[in-house]
C-alpha cells in the first residue's frame, strides 16, 4: 500500500515561498491567480497492513513527525499497490 501525503501550512500562517510564487505568476500575466500555497508531498510505502490499520498508523506518523501541527496541516490518501 502507498500513502500519498500532503503537508501544507495552516490557514493564517504566512507562507513566504507561496507568496513569492503568487507574485511571480501575476507578473507573468496570470491575473487569475489569487493565492499559492507551497507544501510537501511524501509517498510512504507500507508493507502488510490493512487499510484501517494504515489509516491509523499514517495519521500517527503525520502527527508525530511528518507535519509540525503548530504550523502545518496534513491530508493523505491510501492507494493499493497490488
Amino acid at each position: 500500500m502507498l500513502a500519498k501525503i500532503h503537508v501544507t501550512f495552516k490557514e493564517g500562517v504566512l507562507d513566504p515561498q507561496g507568496k513569492t510564487v503568487h507574485h511571480a505568476l501575476n507578473d507573468l500575466g496570470y491575473d487569475e491567480v489569487l493565492d499559492v500555497h507551497i507544501g510537501k508531498y511524501l509517498e510512504v510505502k507500507l508493507d502488510s497492513v490493512s487499510e484501517d490499520e494504515a489509516e491509523i498508523r499514517v495519521r500517527e506518523m503525520c502527527e508525530r513527525l511528518l507535519a509540525n501541527t503548530v504550523i502545518e496541516s496534513f491530508r493523505f490518501k491510501l492507494v493499493s499497490t497490488e
Binding site: 500562517v13 504566512l14 513566504p16 515561498q17 513569492t20 513527525l65 509540525n68 503548530v70 504550523i71
Partner: protein, 229 residues
C-alpha cells in the same frame, strides 16, 4: 558549573560552545553523543548547540528531536534542569515540545548571517539575570529557518508570563518591522518555558563571548547561568 554539550550529526557550533564554557569561562564540560540515553542528573546545564542536525531534513530539528539523548534532556528539563538551545538547538526544543511555537523559513526567504541587536525583555530568569533590564545586546544570527511563529493568543500569554527574553531591536532598543530580520511574530528572538528553566534563542551568544573579539555581549547569558551554580 557542570555543562553537557549535545552533539548531533550535523551540529557545528558544539566546539564554539565548549570553547566559551571551558576555555574562556573555566567551566567543566562534557560531550553528550546523540545516540546515548544517559542520566543527566549530575549536570547543571545542558546545551543544544547550533548547526544543521540531520541536514535539517523535513524540518529543522524534526528528526533530532527523536534522538535517544533527547529522552534524557526532556527528563532533565522536567526535573527542573537548565537547558539552553541556540539556533538549531532552539529549533529542536520547539520540535520536542519543551518550548511552545515553531520556527519557519525567514520571511526574506534567504539565509541571514549578520550581527543583530536584541533587547533584554526580562532579567527574572536564570539565563538573563546578569543582563541589565532593557539593555541592548549585539549578537550574530546565522539561520534560514528562524522566523518564530505562535498564534496571537499564545503570544500574549508568553508576554504576560514573562517568557519572552529577547526581541530583535535597533541599536537603541527600538522595536519595529525594520529591526526584525526574519519576520518573527512580536520580534521574538528568544524565549523560555513557563518554569523558566528551558530557553531557546536564534542569535549565537557563543560567537561573541571570547575577549579576543571586540564584542563580548554574549557573555552575560553564560555568566547568568554560572552565577547560580
Amino acid at each position: 558549573m557542570k555543562c553537557g554539550i549535545v552533539v548531533f550529526p550535523g551540529s557545528n557550533c558544539d566546539h564554539d560552545c565548549n570553547h566559551i564554557l571551558k576555555k574562556i569561562l573555566n567551566q567543566e564540560t562534557h560531550w553528550l553523543w546523540h545516540k546515548d540515553e544517559v542520566d543527566l542528573s549530575s549536570f547543571d546545564l545542558i546545551v543544544l548547540p547550533g548547526g544543521f542536525s540531520y541536514g535539517d531534513y523535513l524540518r529543522a530539528g524534526a528528526i533530532s528531536r527523536f534522538s535517544p539523548v533527547m529522552n534524557s534532556v526532556i527528563r532533565f528539563a522536567e526535573n527542573g534542569g537548565k537547558v539552553l538551545g541556540i539556533c538549531n538547538g532552539f529549533q529542536i526544543l520547539l520540535e520536542s515540545g519543551l518550548l511552545p511555537g515553531a520556527l519557519m523559513q525567514n520571511h526574506t526567504r534567504k539565509f541571514i548571517c549578520k550581527n543583530v541587536y536584541v533587547r533584554v525583555e526580562t532579567t527574572s530568569t536564570p539565563f538573563t539575570q546578569k543582563c541589565n533590564d532593557k539593555s541592548v545586546l549585539e549578537i550574530p544570527i546565522a539561520h534560514h529557518q528562524g522566523s518564530y511563529y505562535i498564534d496571537p493568543h499564545s503570544l500574549s500569554d508568553l508576554e504576560e508570563k514573562g517568557q519572552i527574553l529577547f526581541r530583535y531591536c535597533d541599536a537603541k532598543g527600538g522595536i519595529s518591522e525594520s529591526s526584525n530580520p526574519n519576520g518573527s511574530v512580536g520580534s521574538v528572538a528568544g524565549l523560555c518555558n513557563e518554569q523558566k528553566n528551558v530557553m531557546g534563542m536564534m542569535p549565537h551568544p557563543e560567537r561573541c563571548a571570547d575577549p579576543l573579539w571586540a564584542n563580548i555581549d554574549g557573555q552575560s547569558i553564560f555568566q547568568s547561568l554560572i552565577s547560580q551554580s
